[in-house]
Symmetry: D2
Subunit: 180 residues, 4 copies
Amino acid sequence: MLVIDGNSRSNGNTQTLLHILLDNIPHEYISLRDKVVHPIIDARHTDEGFQPIKDDYQSIIKNVLENDMIILSTPIYWYGMSGLMKNFIDRWSQSMRDPSLNFKQGMYKKKMYVVTVGGDEPKTKGLPLIMQFQYIFDFVGASFEGYILGKGNKPGDILQDKKAINIAKFYNQAFLQTLC
Amino acid sequence: MLVIDGNSRSNGNTQTLLHILLDNIPHEYISLRDKVVHPIIDARHTDEGFQPIKDDYQSIIKNVLENDMIILSTPIYWYGMSGLMKNFIDRWSQSMRDPSLNFKQGMYKKKMYVVTVGGDEPKTKGLPLIMQFQYIFDFVGASFEGYILGKGNKPGDILQDKKAINIAKFYNQAFLQTLC
Amino acid sequence: MLVIDGNSRSNGNTQTLLHILLDNIPHEYISLRDKVVHPIIDARHTDEGFQPIKDDYQSIIKNVLENDMIILSTPIYWYGMSGLMKNFIDRWSQSMRDPSLNFKQGMYKKKMYVVTVGGDEPKTKGLPLIMQFQYIFDFVGASFEGYILGKGNKPGDILQDKKAINIAKFYNQAFLQTLC
Amino acid sequence: MLVIDGNSRSNGNTQTLLHILLDNIPHEYISLRDKVVHPIIDARHTDEGFQPIKDDYQSIIKNVLENDMIILSTPIYWYGMSGLMKNFIDRWSQSMRDPSLNFKQGMYKKKMYVVTVGGDEPKTKGLPLIMQFQYIFDFVGASFEGYILGKGNKPGDILQDKKAINIAKFYNQAFLQTLC
């Protein structure tokens, strides 16, 4: 299990959800705010094609491909994923054309989870974001196994969202059973 | 009229739509790929608050505030706006807390347009993105005046999307009448 | 608590969820398939206005207005609520103009829940339906307190959707605590 | 070309759009408010299966199957299609299991259009409805060729929605060219 965290601060509400979700679950954790991932330069239709970019993207995506279960964790910023996460996802277009990766085959049937927390009516205004993740995972043939939409603004708020906490515990139990 | 362009390549399909839309319309144009706009560091709940960041964001947002009509132009990347555009929008959270800007008052009733082109069924799979823009504009009290969802992948494709071209021409006429 | 059930068969999956959700909770239950609710005849802009219609709608809506918590239960048919439920909701337009009801004031801050089960990827393809309910409740000033999106096709399928069952149990506990 | 009209009043705004859209285009027209189409009784999982229902549905659906291009026209009521239209669509579940119809094969690659008008921010709050139509058409393998989302409440309002009028004219031209 690998967590890709698109939060731009530590100890946020998404983090709290992740702790509950991953209690006793062995996992790797990558925080995008500690990495450099440049916005994509769209070279799909240039003669040269994509050029190697010197940042941390390639090592992160290799890590993704080596794991069967991926949790994408992002705050809801302006009703979408964070720019940190979006830059990361946008670069998948580059990986799609990278013969060294076999990206689409590698993503096929991978189990994807999304954990996201927002302040403004996330349980409905966060739904376009969930739809986007569904389209994203469909495009690469991955399986969207589940999501947690939590409500919170100030650090700690999420603890008041008992439904989100409950779902995190539920998935935690499901993960534990998978491990046995 | 000010165009904020979140494309990561020049001469793309969105560009073609913009040319039709803006034919004979005086406007300013900012390409985010020629600017540096860092991802937000969320400091809303820290003691220090947001710190000034040395990049081009502040001058761009001042330009936005000085214009009555804003066109946000972005390719549909992975069913959302480009990371370049998302980084720009995410920074609005910083502007919301910047007493020198009067951001929310400045955005109130501003006329917003979105021009976006995607390759995979944009007229329906692009709808979550349109919803997000609606939520974004609602949040700051701006008015979502219209959008063009075009279909295209390779440069030039958009010319086959006669409906999108038609809508671009329609708005162009409407803009021209506003100017008279 | 009042349940309005838009299912067209008994013992379906939505019913199973409702049983878990309402265990030990006193409630009234109205099945729309046992009632007659005609499609609306839109008379908002006629000289005569809406005319009284001889069916069960008026008594049902009065019952709604007398309860603080309303559960709308519908299968997901063709990615939307059932026609039975839609006919019922459409008639709210008539109630909006019925001076004997004070409809909008009566709906204000009412607590609304939605329980819905579908067969084809309900957790994402059911999201447009959830958005519609949000818009509906917003329009009348009611509060969308929560929803359960379950997966099931054949009767009994829902028992395999452990997450939906879990959320139903969670709300059941929350309801029980409200009663104490 | 066949129009299925789910409006519950005549001379509404959707009607006005249809007149522009179909100017000089030979077509058949069925108004659901002049027909009887009962809500579905879900018998997918009963021993007996679906029983024949005495209403106008079967003749309408046969007409649909005989046409290559179908326009579904509905007001936006409460952010969804009208109950009249929903009852009609729900019955497709019955047709799916009707061996006399070959329904899914008959719907395959059929060209579908949606014309819909609403009063409350239809260009964004009508988008969940458009998504539902996309899912519906995808399910039966039909092709969602285009849609018009118009704004209007009182009869005649739609004439103020110059963009919708423009799109209707655009499709009209496209239809005329198809006929030549």
